[in-house]
């Protein structure tokens, strides 16, 4: 390479690096989509239940922690919003597209075609593989045993469909309206197993004082995502934000801290996997 040519290239590169290093991408960037909150300066987040183990701690008026609370704060920071406001909205309303004026719902929601007709789903922020929560000591790590359990599952959830279509229990399934009803039934011995999203199951197990455990997980394409009002103009900005938080390690840090689960390819590394029949 001739000396002047090499010098020009080096100068060009150095100039670009100096300018590029000064670029601050933590502030608003229209290339990544623009977020327009319903109320200026405030990110309004809807969720079905506070507290929800691992995802929301404290109260609606005074949230103190949890994965989705941390995620809401990270979103607000990225969008340059000073406040996060929480509104509690029944699960049925959320999945019907009624967010009570919130900018988004963070409520361990899984994408489904039916829900997608009334909501816009963001890029997923957590894998939502179905997982089996049992009382400690129960061994449910193959399909035959899983089918023989007395199950409880939340009504109208994607998990209910998975249980009936893929697991196909041989005994009647107890479908309930809230997650708490399933957990009560499991604790009281009325059912043997509850089907939950993997991160929800690990969070509940880790706060149960050793009484409950995640016996197994199923591979699936299900994921947890933020739900936005249908045709929201904020989708691009939220998608970009989720990708950025995944890449810079924020989501992993939140999952480690609040959900106590190490995920590889969406599956928990130390929990048995049951392959449903194709």
């Amino acid at each position: 390479m001739s000396r002047p040519g090499a010098r020009h290239l080096a100068l060009l590169l150095m100039a670009l690096m100096v300018v590029a290093c000064g670029a601050d991408e933590t502030t608003a960037n229209r290339a990544a989509g623009t977020f327009r909150p319903a109320r200026p300066g405030v990110l309004r987040v809807a969720t079905a239940q506070v507290p929800a183990p691992g995802f929301w701690q404290g109260t609606v008026a005074n949230p103190t922690g949890g994965f989705e609370w941390g995620l809401a704060k990270a979103f607000a920071s990225r969008f340059g919003l000073a406040l996060v406001e929480i509104v509690e909205v029944p699960f049925e309303d959320l999945i019907s597209g009624r967010l009570a004026g919130a900018d988004m719902a963070l409520s361990q929601l899984t994408f489904s075609e039916g829900r997608d007709r009334v909501l816009d789903f963001s890029t997923p922020y957590l894998p939502g593989k179905p997982a089996i929560l049992t009382r400690a000591g129960a061994r449910v790590n193959d399909m035959e045993t899983a089918q023989a359990q007395r199950w409880s599952v939340r009504r109208r959830s994607t998990l209910e469909r998975f249980l009936n279509d893929k697991v196909r229990p041989t005994r009647p399934v107890q479908a309930v309206d809230t997650r708490q009803e399933s957990l009560d039934a499991l604790t009281n011995g009325n059912v043997d197993a509850v089907l939950l999203d993997l991160p929800v199951a690990t969070a509940i197990a880790s706060t149960s004082g050793g009484r409950l455990e995640v016996a197994a997980q199923f591979p699936s394409d299900d994921n947890l995502a933020a739900a936005l009002p249908d045709h929201s103009s904020n989708k691009d900005a939220v998608d970009s934000a989720v990708r950025a938080l995944a890449t810079d390690g924020t989501l992993r840090t939140l999952a480690d801290r609040w959900l106590h689960v190490a995920l590889t390819g969406g599956l928990a590394e130390d929990i048995p996997v049951i392959q449903p029949p194709s």
Binding site: S2, G5, A31, N223, V242
Partner: protein
Amino acid sequence: MDPLHLNEPSGDAFVFLVLFAVVVGGPLVVEKLKIPGIIGLFLGGLLIGPHGLGFIGSGNTTVFSLGKLGLLYLMFVAGLELDLGLVKRHRRSVVVFSVLSFAMPMAAGTVAGLLLDFGTGAAILLGALLASHTLIVYPTVKSFRLGSDPAVATGVGATVVTDTLALIILAVIVGSTEVGASSVEIAIQTGLGLLIVAGFSFLLLPRVATLFMARFGSSRTNRYVFALVALLSAATVAQVVDIEGIIGAFFAGLALNRLVPNEGDLMHRIDFFGAAVFIPVFIVSVGLVLDPGVMAEPETLRMAGIFVLACVGGKAIAAALTRPFLGFSWSQVGVLFSLTAAQAAATLAVADVGKQHGLFGNAVFNAVLGLILVSLIVASVVASFSGQRVPVPPKSPTPTYGDRVLLIGTEDCLFRAGVAALAMRLASTDAGVVLPVIVAPDGDSMPGFHEIEKVERRLTSVGVDLPVTVHVDGDSPAAVQHAITSLDASAAVIDDPSGEWLNVVQTGDVPYRVPLLIVGAVAGRCRRVVVRPDPLAVSVPVGEIARRLAPARTTVVIDDSGAGGSAVETGTTDLVVSAVGADVQPNGAASTVVTIV
């Protein structure tokens, strides 16, 4: 009971079925319409993806993981395939054009980004993305026999520089997304990171590769898997020091460029798996996220239009400026433009990484995909139009002796390791290949299949990367002539421990159109090579040959005292080579004889 219970197709087998159906069918369908096959892969991805028929859902991780591997593979192959010999030969025009070809679209892209209200980092990244290019129309240009045209060589060489600069900018911008780091910290971190990746790739990797090939390289599977390990290890090192994996993969490709000749068996395997699986899967995985709803939005279309203007306009200005600066004709400018305007690999890679880091949203990403589609069509049309108007360049007056080196053996002497290493040295200087050939007069016995297989394994362990071929003719010199012509050799190395060949060639009147190096005794490790020109030769490229034969820490002595002369004491040499041959002069007359002792 239903005698035949039918399930809806699902599961991994079904996902891979639709994926590979697109890999096979997508390009076939669009090529019928004279559209580049890559666009068929994009559109196929869109068809089977969540925004199309939904066969592969947005939550599917398998295809996207395979796609990520495909992206690394794509960058590795891009580094591996670059013809560094061409870059070296046209370094002045490469440097001038690299600066133009990078600076014009870079400036246009950055300004466009700022006008579109992008953040500074996103605007600079957009500029870098537009400044890179992919040699997707290179096969079209080569089909016009323009591979050695100065404009084509300049375009190929500029790819190394523009893509490397684009990837460095990417590293810096991605580094700048680190929350809480100052500009100085980012610059130091990125600079150190790049140094570590470059050190690993350019210093450690080639040494490990050489050792591995010598010890375990006799198995072709081992060689291929080693290439994969090299690519993944460089990407991992990059990731560990917070640099994008694609930069490590690209550097690994560049570092192994000389060790993996483009025409060699290993390169064919790397190309095969890349073309059949990894790279198409990556492109389909990009198509999966194509969102027609977003693409059809006026905002996306407006951005795509601006990107096309900045990129194609910038590349056109850069190509046009080579007329006054480098004296290229308008047709050459057209070819140069077509080579550098096509956006695919590096553009996709940078856009994808920018998207993953949240710098680019769906609208920008889809607009970039629109740019890729338009640039590929424009580049293909211009390449076809300009390529046929550029005259085929004359054969280079300075032959590259190492391009295609024949390694000739006979049934009695099947390639000693030292001789094969000598041929490899000759080839590696010009990033060429060694073609092992066994010659025999008609009627002589031939080595059997198993024997040839054994020889191939032995040759593979010293880096010879092509299968042995057998050439039979009336006599051995005729068989050599036959092999030289049919294999389009640039030089031939003949293994001749008995000295018979030297005698046959020196006393015969058969003109050879390439230099022949006839290797006599080989003793131990080569520390000293004596090159002895034949006294009868009119003009001898001894200096060129000697330079290529000299490995590190080896003394090369040119002894012009005459064949068999005593100016150099041959007893002190480790390598004794005698060679006779004819070098083709520019006028085509065969006249030169070379002797190396």
